[in-house]
Subunit: 368 residues, 2 copies
DNA sequence: GCCTTTGACTAATGTATATTAGCAAGCGCA
DNA sequence: TGCGCTTGCTAATATACATTAGTCAAAGGC
């Protein structure tokens, strides 16, 4: 207490502490007060509607007016990240935007992967749905970004190339694409390796001695269908099995298409000994047609699916299928944030994650 | 201003200003610091996971321990008072907190219901997972509330009574409970009407002429299991069918328990003609046992399930089951927000929504 | 014309948290 | 031995909002 005056800097001196050119990151009550020509206290009273305080309606209106004009929002402490956040700890809140949540379980699985990976670091995931709607998508993402998230994961239900909405480019936080990618490789992106998946499913059949392997595709315009087919052809080529167009039947991911396609295949002069259904639903229809024809799986004919949907486990016999790596993709996305490889928005290669095959009981060695 | 020294109290003097015997209304970081034997700053670092700060794991653990023990919850900046909200402009964002997202589809369905209902009004739903963790739950909800959401929906995966965390009470936005409720009825809450569901499932069997109806329960300590059983007994009583304890077998929601229970039921001197499985998984095991015994569904014996899981449709024969009204519950929650009946936190009755029965092909008239 | 009251507001201060600077101990090393 | 570096933490301070205790001017009372 000998020199109390030493303790106090002249008022205003401290203001220069923040050297950054950015004077304000947020609108505060003080700003509103200045705009409305009153004190910060008055603003506090108005915005809190404090009981027992008497203020003229004019003043109240002026304050509200100003608050609205300046876009005041209550304090978000986590949003006060220093201008150049070195991304070590990556605290806080990570946004996860997805077009649909309910239509298929993959989104939930990816979210779960991201959550698990965030958990250790104590980060919270905030999920918003965009519904792929041009009006709502910006609002949904704004609901996240405006609130001070420290990174955004942007996921689509179907694997595809997207034209990223403009605002993704103008965000100043890391953006990771999950199950989609942009043509300009502007963001780190991760997708399942469908080609490798189709290849390993087919290779699995080949390893069991099959040489006459049919496949039932999905809707041909979908990336996943094309890639799975590509993998199928590649596996055939690798094993020196000639490609027979007769053995490729177009489906549409549905069980009924699987049924019809299988009937068609069974009508072939030289029947396949194995069928690679490019998703599990198709396999359901395939099973049905096979059973109707009096064929036994896998003794008479082997079947593999794709996607490892819940039902694959409950079919009879349980279906050998490929797991979509959405859990791993979610984790991968978070890991990208932990290692700070954001060297000025360069070009990122698209990461492809494997679709491991789960062997169950629908594949056997070829007869004969 | 003649006596500037008067302005500066010696540090600590100001502490005595608050004369009230109550030293603290809330747990602050300073309290935690004292308990953990460190400084308030350290607590701040730990709880915020501040980037670029290095602390020993021990210290972090001690702080988290203490925070948990003292029941710390971060300050809630209200910003927007209910009575006269100055800015409807602060775009409608509704928070949806759920303990688990991935473990079962119900949460996703409820979210979808809430989303659909919000959509028209142009509101955005932000979803956070709490994982039922004492440390993470406040953080997750904080991630929502701090960001100025205009309402919070709080959901649990299992239907149950909860002790709502303190901070739920101190929020000044509407809070709706979904699939759970508090003993003090402090919040509007909605749950499935499991009793009515169990009753209507059983009644359905009675309507088909069955009188000897068995049931396989879930884990007995779970609310849902108790209520479904209660509904079963009620339906029996209403139809003047005596209750036979022999026909009630305890399961645990799993297929294998369903299998074992069915085997036990088939060993009875007087076999049941119908089995009410209290969830679909149980029914899977039940189907299995029945088929092994050479019985045909529904000709020889009828089966109903509960939950309408995806698989119910794909069983053979497709399973008659009750739909959990999570979609409707999500919608209901949003509707409560639209009609603003929040007259000073009164007592709200628990709303129960029906579980409608979907008839498929696993029930037939009793033979003879 | 001098108090008193009241309405409308502010200065000053309090509270809780975030952040910066720096201290002290330990370690590798020249 | 002593220099520089890292690690792990605290003291001090800044920031943002809430609240208390007023100030000040106008409107009465006497």
């Amino acid at each position: 207490m000998s020199e109390p005056t030493e303790l106090r800097d002249p008022p205003g001196a401290s203001r220069r502490r923040k050297p950054a050119g950015k004077p304000k990151g947020r609108v505060t009550m003080t700003d509103i007060a200045r705009a409305a020509g009153c004190s910060q206290a008055t603003v506090s009273f108005v915005l809190n509607n404090s009981p027992g305080i008497r203020l003229s309606q004019q003043t109240r209106d002026r304050v509200i007016e100003a608050a609205r004009a300046l876009g005041y929002s209550p304090p978000v402490f986590s949003a006060l990240r220093p201008p150049v956040t070195p991304f070590e700890g990556l605290d806080g809140v990570i946004g996860f935007a997805v077009d649909q949540l309910a239509t298929s379980p993959e989104a939930v699985v990816a979210i779960e992967g991201a959550r698990q990976a965030s958990w250790n670091a104590g980060n919270v995931l905030l999920v918003a749905q965009t519904m792929g709607d041009a009006v709502m998508e910006p609002r949904a993402i704004q609901a996240l970004t405006r609130r001070g998230i420290s990174a955004l994961i942007y996921m689509t239900i179907f694997t595809r190339e997207i034209a990223a909405p403009d605002f993704l480019y103008s965000l100043d936080i890391p953006v990771i694409l999950l199950n989609c990618y942009t043509a300009d490789y502007a963001f780190p992106a991760v997708v399942p390796s469908e080609i490798a998946g189709g290849q390993s499913a087919t290779r699995h059949l080949i390893a069991h001695g099959h040489r006459r392997i049919a496949t039932i595709t999905g809707e041909p315009w979908m990336q996943a269908a094309q890639d799975r087919l590509k993998g199928y052809r590649r596996a055939l080529a690798t094993a020196d099995i000639p490609f027979d167009p007769e053995l490729v039947v177009e489906g549409d991911w549905s069980a009924s298409a699987g049924y019809a396609a299988t009937v068609k295949l069974l009508g072939l002069k030289e029947r396949p000994t194995a069928i690679f259904c490019q998703n599990d639903r198709t396999a359901i229809g395939c099973y049905e047609a096979l059973k109707e024809a009096g064929l036994h799986i896998p003794q008479d004919i082997s079947v593999v699916g794709y996607d490892d949907e819940e039902i694959a486990r409950h079919l009879f016999p349980p279906l050998t299928t490929s797991i979509l790596p959405h859990l791993a993709m979610g984790q991968w996305a978070i890991e990208q944030l932990e290692t700070p490889p954001t060297p000025g928005r360069g070009r990122y290669p698209i990461t492809k994650l494997e679709c491991p095959l789960v062997e169950r009981e629908s594949v056997a060695d070829v007869k004969g």
